[in-house]
């Protein structure tokens, strides 16, 4: 075989490889996850973030509007401070409330934003003050058990 045959087949091989990579990049993975859209950053402090992780989605009315950039602990108040990167195209009022929700019963946790009525909008560096923490399943169960235990003794043990 001569040079031209090799060149042809190797060219075809490289084209196939590039096509496979393009397929993986465009069809299989989500390119927009790369975060090319401009964002602004606000913070929110929570008492308990549960299992929230960096890069978790931020949704408003179920629509993805941004991603969690980072999480750290405020060493004076001992609350979790979450940095939120929200897309520039979505503006929220100053009294927007943030809560930590779970998608499905075992799904990942995400931040839900609920817009308020204030006319001034959140801008970069602002802090969301109205927050509600993640529901921790163990606490919920123990609360339920204690309330059951509290009401049961009166019924289970009739007065002698």
């Amino acid at each position: 075989m001569n040079r031209r045959v090799y060149d042809f087949w190797v060219g075809l091989f490289v084209i196939l490889g590039v096509a496979a990579l393009a397929f993986l990049a465009l069809r299989v993975s989500n390119v927009s996850n790369g975060g090319t859209k401009p964002t602004y950053r606000v913070t929110a402090a929570f008492d308990n973030i549960g299992g929230l992780k960096a890069r978790a989605p931020i949704k408003s009315a179920g629509v993805l509007v941004g991603r969690v950039a980072g999480i750290h602990l405020d060493s004076t108040t001992y609350r979790a401070v979450v940095d939120l990167d929200i897309e520039q195209g979505y503006q929220f009022s100053r009294d927007t409330s943030a809560e930590i929700l779970t998608s499905g019963i075992l799904g990942d946790q995400y931040i839900g934003l609920e817009a308020g009525g204030d006319e001034t909008m959140l801008k970069s560096g602002d802090r969301i003050t109205l927050t509600s923490s993640a529901v921790v399943l163990e606490k919920l169960i123990s609360q339920f058990m204690f309330s059951k235990a509290a009401e049961n003794p009166s019924q289970a043990q009739p007065a002698p």
Binding site: R3, V10, F13, L16, L21, L24, A25, V28, S29, N30
Partner: protein
Amino acid sequence: MLDWLEKRVRRLGEPVVNTMEKLGFGFRFLMAVLWHSGTSFRRPGLVIREVFFTGVLSLVIILVSGLFVGMVLGLQGYDTLVRFGASEALGVLVSLSLLRELGPVVAGLLFASRAGSAITAEIGMMKATEQLAAMEMMAVNPVARVVAPRFWAGVLSMPILAALFSAMGILGGYVVGVVLIGVDAGTFWSQMQAQVDLFNDVGNGLVKSVVFGVAVSIIAVFEGFDAPPTAEGVSGATTRTVVTSSLVILGLDFILTAFMFRGI
């Protein structure tokens, strides 16, 4: 008694010293290959010819294996996921397993046994029939003329083969999951796109395949160059190429995975 003890200790020390010596030689050989790579880039024809033999001729086995691995993942994944009522996550399972692990690793193992062994046998036979010595007589550096093009061809082919393996596997998973079993096509692709990240999953898989390509190629050319110039020596070197590169691929995969996917 002391004699006996000395013999035991010496028997322990000998393989250690030999291994260290071989490792050192192998590393210096890698440096030599890199140093003499200029010829490969000045005469790309040399590399293209080797890409044909290592890459293009490995296409069939890679594509067919990828398709079947993907189809098996589709069947097994569906069987497990349907117990949890999560069969719509089939696309995520198939694509993440292939992109992160199976694509680079299985393609690397197949590449080592299909192309690595051939490279070792070829260079070993060249040495046994004194073609390498003849080149040196003519002031042609065999490392630059024979070894480096094969090394670079392997490094170039491996990521392409791994990407093709993953792509074929995902298509295989699609065929089994959507066409045969009847998972909804829309959720199959949309769940996959929502969960698979371009940099974390596709990118890291690509990095893995490049690393495996370098490892397999250098082991293959080194074993060929180092082979005793006899029929037995060449056969032993070919075996060692497949065994060593398989172990190195699996070991490196563990190390790379530990660094890449520690869970953010």
